[in-house]
C-alpha cells in the first residue's frame, strides 16, 4: 500500500493506483474528458492536471501512478489556470450550438466550462469544417464537436475488438475516422453504439431520440435486454410514455455496460405502428376487432369443451419466467402436458 496526501488529506491506496483513483477514494473531484476506468489511460485531454509538490510540471492525474509520500494539490491557482486554458483551447474549435445540441445538459465540456466560468475562447483562428455524417441509420457523427479524447477509439479497440475507427492525420487535421476515411458502414464497425455512450460531448449522437427530450427530462429505467440469451443490462430513457434512448448499464455484472446493435438501436419496435392494440376474432373468415371479454370467453368455452390431451400450448422464450410458469400451470391444471416452446428449435 502507498500513502500520499491530496489537498492535505492522507489516503492509502494500492501500489499502481493513479492519483485520480486516490482522489476518488477521498471524494475529491478532478475533471476528466478522456478518462474511463475500463480503458488504458490516455492522458490526452489534460483536464485532470494536478500539482504535485517538488514536481516541475503539472501532472495528469488519470495516468500518473501514486508514489509514497506524494503530496498532491487539485485546487491551486496554477491548476485552475491550466484547466481554464485547456478549456479555452478546446472551445477555440467547438461549435457553441448548445441550444440545439442533443448533448446539452449531459456534456462534460459544457459542465467544465460552467464550473470554471469559460463562456468563449480568446483564440480566433482556423476552424474545423467537417460535413455532418448522417449516412447510417443509427448515429450522427459531427467531427466539428470532437475533442479528440479518444474514448470512442479505445472502446472500439479494447472492448468491442472491432477496431473500426482510429485517429487519422496530424495536428490541426487530426480526426477520428474509419480506415481510408470510409463511411462507418463500409468499415468493420458493427454499430454496437458503445462509442456513442462514451463520447463526452456531442460529436456522436444516436438518431433514435433526436429532439425527443432533454437529458434532465428523461426518466431512467434499468432492465434486461429482450433479444439474445446473453442478458445484457440496459438503461432505458423514457419520456412521455416512450422509450427515447438506450444505453448499456455499467452496473450489469453480465454486460458491464456493453451493448450490440440490436439492444442499443433495435428497441424502437416497441413503438412500431404495427403493434397489436386490440383483441381480434375471426368472424365469417375476416379478422375483426373484439373486446377482451368476448375473446377470452370464446377461448374459455373452446377449452372447456375439450379433454386435456386434445389441447396444446406453445409458451415463449421471449416471455418472462413468471409468464412461462403460469402458462404451463394453466395447461397442466386442465390436464394437458402438451406444452413446449422453441428451446428445441
Amino acid at each position: 500500500m502507498i500513502t500520499l496526501t491530496i489537498n492535505g488529506h492522507r489516503v492509502e491506496v494500492e501500489a499502481g493506483s493513479t492519483i485520480l483513483e486516490a482522489a476518488e477514494k477521498l471524494g475529491i473531484f478532478i475533471p476528466t474528458l478522456c478518462h474511463d476506468p475500463r480503458f488504458t489511460p490516455a492522458g490526452a485531454c489534460r483536464m485532470c492536471l494536478v500539482e504535485v509538490e517538488r514536481a516541475r510540471a503539472l501532472m495528469a492525474a488519470c495516468s500518473v501512478p501514486v508514489m509514497e509520500g506524494m503530496a498532491v494539490h487539485t485546487d491551486t491557482e496554477r491548476v485552475h489556470a491550466a484547466r481554464k486554458e485547456n478549456l479555452r483551447l478546446l472551445l477555440a474549435n467547438h461549435p457553441l450550438d448548445c441550444l440545439t445540441c442533443e448533448k446539452n445538459g449531459d456534456c462534460r465540456l459544457q459542465e467544465y466550462c460552467y464550473r470554471y466560468g469559460i463562456a468563449e475562447s480568446d483564440y480566433q483562428g482556423a476552424r474545423k469544417e467537417y460535413a455532418l455524417d448522417e449516412s447510417n441509420p443509427f448515429l450522427i457523427r459531427d467531427l466539428n464537436k470532437c475533442v479528440l479524447c479518444g474514448l470512442c477509439v479505445r472502446v472500439c479497440h479494447e472492448i468491442n475488438g472491432a477496431g473500426a475507427i482510429d485517429f487519422t492525420n496530424r495536428g490541426f487535421y487530426t480526426k477520428v475516422a474509419p480506415a481510408f476515411d470510409d463511411a462507418l458502414e463500409a468499415s468493420s464497425c458493427v454499430f454496437c453504439g458503445m462509442c456513442v455512450d462514451v463520447c463526452p460531448v456531442g460529436a456522436l449522437t444516436p438518431k433514435q431520440g433526436l429532439r425527443r427530450g432533454r437529458p434532465w427530462e428523461l426518466q431512467k429505467v434499468r432492465t434486461t435486454c429482450p433479444f439474445c440469451g446473453t442478458g445484457c443490462g440496459l438503461e432505458l430513457s423514457v419520456k412521455d410514455d416512450r422509450v427515447v434512448g438506450v444505453k448499456g448499464d455499467p452496473a450489469s455484472p453480465v454486460s458491464r455496460g456493453q451493448t450490440c446493435v440490436k439492444g442499443r438501436f433495435g428497441l424502437d419496435f416497441l413503438h412500431s405502428p404495427d403493434r397489436l392494440q386490440k383483441p381480434l376474432m375471426r368472424k365469417n373468415g375476416e379478422m375483426v376487432e373484439a373486446s377482451w371479454e368476448e375473446a377470452l370467453s370464446l377461448i374459455a368455452s373452446k377449452m372447456r369443451g375439450l379433454r386435456g390431451r386434445e389441447m396444446a400450448g406453445f409458451s415463449s422464450a421471449r416471455a418472462t419466467n413468471e409468464e412461462n410458469y403460469l402458462f404451463q400451470k394453466l395447461f397442466r391444471m386442465l390436464g394437458s402436458n402438451n406444452i413446449d416452446h422453441c428451446a428445441r428449435l
Partner: protein
C-alpha cells in the same frame, strides 16, 4: 452454461464449435475476441469462415454435420498421446472404457476423411485443448440443430470429461442459449415432460408436490413436443392450439407442413405483440405487452435471473401475458389471484429448489443471481459441477458418427445451412425503424466455385429449391462458405428459408435438422421463377 460469461476473461483455451457469437451473442463475441487478442488460444470449428476465425489459432473447417467425427478424432488424439486427465476420469466419471473403445477407430486420418479437416489440425487442436490449464467449450445450434444433435452434445461432454476441463472457473461446457429467456422458459417447465425445475411429470413425488400446490390432480403422461403437436393436428388428436409469443409459421422447419397444420387445427389462439405470420392463421389474436411494458424476470444463458422492469405502458388495450393468462384462468373458473409478478415469483421459488433463495428483494438489492441458489443466504453459483456432477459421476457416452438425414445428390447438389446475422434477431427486429432499412433483405452466401458453375453474379436473385419448396433469394459470392454449401438466414418472411428445410428430427430432442438439407440453385430466368 456451466461457467459464467465473466470467466471468459481468464480463459487459456476457448473452443468454439457450431456457434457464431459475434453475430448471435455479440457481447459474448466481444469477450471471446478480446480474450484471443490478449493472448488466450482460440480454436474455431465451423463450416463457414465466421468472424472469430480472424482471431483463431486453429480453424477446423469441417463439413456440415460431422461434429461427432471431429470431436471423436480429438478425443482419439488425447487418449493416444496420453494427454487425458486420468485422475479426473478415475475419480469423477464413469463409462470411460466404452467411450474409449468407440473413439479408437477415429484416428486423425479417419476423422479427416469424414470431416474434411486436415489430420494435423485435429491433432493440434486436441493438444492445445488438453494441454491447457483451463479450457472452455462454447457451442450453440451448429451442434444441436441436427438429427444427431443429442450425439453432438454428448460428444462435447466427452471431450470436457476426458480432459477434466469442467467444474472449474473458465473450464466447462457452455451452450450459448439463443433467446433472451429460453433458459428461463425451460427452468419454468414450459416443456412437455417436466414441471418447473425439471421435476418429471412421470414422477409420483413431483406430481404430488405440484398437485398439492395447485390444488388439482395432474396428468402423469409426458406431452407432445412442438414438432409432434403439428403431426398430431393432422391426425386430429390435437384440436386446440394456443401460441404465446412464438412465430412457427416462419421459424419452424418444413414450413408447408407447419402452415398446413395451423390451417387445419380446429381453434388457434395467438398471443403476440405483432400480427405475425402465425397470427394470420388464428381464430383469436390477443395483443400482448412487450418487455418494457411489464415487470418480471428473465434467466440468461449463464443461469442468472435478472429483473425486467416496466418503463412504459402497453399500446392500446394490450396487456402483459401474465395478466391475460390470469384472466383466462378466472374465465375457466380456476382460483387465480395474482396481483403482481412478484407473487408469481414467490410461488416459483417455493416449487423450484434451484430458485428457492431468489426473491425480487434480493434481485433489486444484489442484481442478478445465478441458480442454483437454494436459500436466501446463498450467493448463487457462478460455475456448475465443482465437486460433483448433478447425477454424481460424470457419464461418458460412446458416440458414433452418423451422416445427416438428407445429403446433396445429383438432383439437389448443394448443401443448405441456416443461421442468423448480427443485425437481426429472429423476426422481431424486422419491426425496427433503424435496423430494418439497414438490412432489409436476405443476402445468401454462395461460394465462387458454385456461382461460377451456374454463371450467377454478385447481387443476382436466384431460385433455391429443395424437395419441399422453393424461394427466390439475392446472393453474395464469398469464400466464407466452402464449395458446395449455401448459407441463408431465417429472418426474412419474403424468402422464408424454412420452406426448404426438412423435418427430419433428432430422435431424443425432436429438434429438426435446420442446419442441413439438400437444395439446388437455378437462375431465376431459366427457372421461370
Amino acid at each position: 452454461m456451466t461457467n459464467s460469461i465473466g470467466e471468459i476473461d481468464n480463459a487459456d483455451v476457448m473452443f468454439v464449435i457450431g456457434a457464431n457469437p459475434t453475430a448471435a451473442h455479440p457481447v459474448i463475441g466481444y469477450r471471446l475476441k478480446m480474450a484471443a487478442k490478449n493472448g488466450a488460444t482460440l480454436i474455431v470449428a465451423d463450416p463457414r469462415q465466421i468472424e472469430l476465425v480472424d482471431y483463431a489459432d486453429v480453424f477446423l473447417r469441417l463439413r456440415p454435420g460431422t461434429n461427432e467425427a471431429l470431436l471423436n478424432g480429438m478425443i482419439h488424439v488425447i487418449l493416444a498421446e496420453g494427454l487425458a486427465d486420468e485422475k479426473f476420469i478415475r475419480e469423477r466419471t464413469e463409462g470411460f472404457p466404452e467411450m474409449a473403445a468407440v473413439v479408437k477407430k477415429y484416428t486423425p486420418a479417419y476423422a479427416a476423411e469424414i470431416t474434411g479437416v486436415p489430420a494435423a489440425d485435429i491433432r493440434r487442436a486436441a493438444r492445445l485443448f488438453a494441454g491447457a490449464e483451463n479450457a472452455s467449450i462454447f457451442y450453440t445450434l451448429g451442434i444441436t440443430n441436427h438429427t444427431t444433435g443429442t450425439d453432438g452434445v454428448l460428444s462435447v461432454a466427452n471431450l470436457a470429461l476426458v480432459t477434466g476441463h469442467v467444474g472449474k472457473p473458465s473450464s466447462g461446457v457452455n451452450p450459448l442459449r439463443g433467446q433472451n429467456n429460453v433458459q428461463g422458459a425451460c427452468d419454468m417447465g414450459a416443456l412437455p415432460n417436466v414441471f418447473t425445475g425439471y421435476q418429471g411429470v412421470g414422477e409420483r413425488g413431483a406430481r404430488f408436490k405440484f398437485g398439492r400446490a395447485w390444488g388439482t390432480r395432474l396428468n402423469p403422461r409426458p406431452g407432445l413436443t412442438i414438432t409432434e403437436v403439428f403431426d398430431a393436428i393432422y391426425t386430429k388428436e390435437i384440436k386446440f392450439l394456443y401460441i404465446m409469443g412464438e412465430n412457427p409459421a416462419l421459424t419452424e422447419a418444413n414450413l408447408h407442413h407447419v402452415r398446413g397444420a395451423l390451417e387445419k387445427v380446429d381453434f388457434l389462439v395467438v398471443q403476440d405483440i405483432f400480427f405475425t405470420e402465425t397470427a394470420a392463421y388464428a381464430d383469436v389474436v390477443l395483443p400482448a405487452a412487450a418487455f418494457a411494458e411489464k415487470e418480471g424476470t428473465f434467466t440468461n444463458t449463464e443461469r442468472r435471473v435478472q429483473m425486467v422492469r416496466k418503463a412504459i405502458n402497453p399500446p392500446g388495450e394490450a396487456k402483459p401475458d401474465w395478466v391475460i393468462l390470469s384472466a383466462l384462468a378466472r374465465e375457466l373458473r380456476l382460483k387465480w389471484n395474482y396481483a403482481t409478478p412478484a407473487e408469481i415469483f414467490q410461488e416459483i421459488a417455493r416449487l423450484n429448489p434451484a430458485y428457492a433463495g431468489i426473491s425480487y428483494q434480493r434481485l433489486e438489492k444484489e442484481g442478478g443471481l445465478q441458480w442454483p441458489c437454494p436459500d436466501a443466504k446463498h450467493p448463487g453459483t457462478p460455475y456448475l459441477h465443482q465437486d460433483k456432477f448433478v447425477r454424481g459421476k460424470g457419464l461418458f457416452t460412446p458416440v458414433e458418427y452418423q451422416p445427416p438425414a438428407e445429403e446433396p445428390d445429383s438432383d439437389y447438389s448443394l448443401l443448405l445451412t441456416t443461421g442468423r446475422i448480427l443485425f437481426h434477431y429472429n423476426t422481431m427486429t424486422r419491426y425496427s425503424g433503424a435496423i430494418e432499412p439497414f438490412k432489409p433483405e436476405e443476402v445468401a452466401q454462395v461460394n465462387p466455385a458454385d456461382a461460377g458453375h451456374l454463371g450467377v453474379v454478385e447481387g443476382e436473385t436466384v431460385k433455391l429449391s429443395s424437395r419441399r419448396g422453393h424461394i427466390a433469394v439475392r446472393i453474395t459470392i464469398t469464400d466464407a462458405v466452402p464449395p458446395g454449401v449455401i448459407y441463408v438466414t431465417f429472418h426474412y418472411r419474403e424468402s422464408a428459408v424454412n420452406l426448404l428445410t426438412g423435418s427430419a428430427l433428432d430422435p431424443v430432442t425432436k429438434t429438426p435438422e435446420f442446419k442441413i438439407c439438400a437444395v439446388k440453385m437455378e437462375k431465376l430466368a431459366t427457372a421461370g421463377a
